[in-house]
Symmetry: C2
Subunit: 191 residues, 2 copies
């Protein structure tokens, strides 16, 4: 049910339409949670029905009307309650790791190419996050005294950056390991 809470946080940071939320989920919120527009529209409707959100129809020029959602009293209460409940620390779900272990039973070259491709994607993401950090938090154009909300957004972004750096380093380790196994002396140990 964390999608509901992610929406509450995002709408508290700034009210917006389903479409705008979907775009935020591709950007800042997307550092740690993903959602498609279908999911978002469905959940928004449910949350409105439950009285957690308020809607306002906004007519626009040159583009379709939109429904701007904002957090109502019960929505804020629901978020507060969730913040006080313990949640399960979650575990990784990384299919690439499944592929890597699967390489022992198939052509390792195919897996190698896949690992290289993933490395490029993570490298691009890192560059994107670093650009965002410079723009919003550490660059000259960023607001100098950050408020609480911005500081917390920054620390979450630093988490995304750390994750990408760790992943890239690990994928380098994976590449080196597969190379060693296929070209180098078979069955030497490293450490």
């Amino acid at each position: 049910m964390a999608l509901e809470h992610a929406i509450l946080v995002s709408l508290l940071e700034k009210p917006g339409s389903g479409y705008e939320l979907a775009r935020r989920f591709e950007r800042s919120i997307g550092y740690f949670w993903t959602a498609t527009h279908q999911q978002i529209y469905r959940v928004l409707k449910r949350m409105e029905g439950d009285g957690l959100l308020a809607v306002r129809e906004v007519a626009q020029e040159g583009r379709p009307d939109k429904k701007e959602y904002s957090v109502a009293g019960p929505g804020r209460a629901a978020l507060s309650q969730w913040l006080h409940e313990p949640i399960e620390p979650e575990s990784l779900r990384h299919d690439l790791a499944v592929k890597i272990r699967g390489a022992a039973f198939d052509d390792p070259a195919a897996v190698l190419r896949e690992v290289e491709r993933h490395r490029r994607v993570h490298s691009d993401r890192l560059a994107h996050y670093l650009a965002g950090e410079l723009r919003d938090f550490t660059g000259p154009a960023a607001p100098a005294p950050l408020d609480t909300g911005q500081e917390l957004q920054h620390v979450v972004l630093r988490g995304g950056i750390a994750y990408e750096r760790m992943t890239i380093a690990w994928l380098d380790d994976v590449l080196a390991t597969i190379h060693r196994l296929s070209t180098g002396s078979p069955t030497t140990d490293d450490h």
Copy 2:
């Protein structure tokens, strides 16, 4: 559909029952993929029906009979095909990050306690992974010349270790940030 493939890899490494698979998913495979026994039993049944797996009833003494699954020809082919297909690099899904951003709109102390609790869990996991590494790969009792499968299992485990270390360091950053915001110079209003 990666659960199917994770099961194929695990059964290629060693055939076993649904129950045994469920326990592996709490251990080694669980470093990067989780699954409950319900899911596993359901998927095993489907895979057997699709001809990917072979079953063998095994009578045991002092405990219930079990069904030992192993990978059949079509199962191996299905894995091979998947290994040659590109997959989407996945993104994080971290509800703790939602909570951290949510702390701007509620009592930060509650979130602080939650972060500390998660830090302990990740710390325990790291210790557990390191013990496993020593036991299976780097310790004196480990088989000295590791084979390909073991080397690949090791590099995946190193990924789990790197993930836990990164996460712990990040949570320390989060703790320091929240402390700074609440005790240090109160720069202010959030909302």
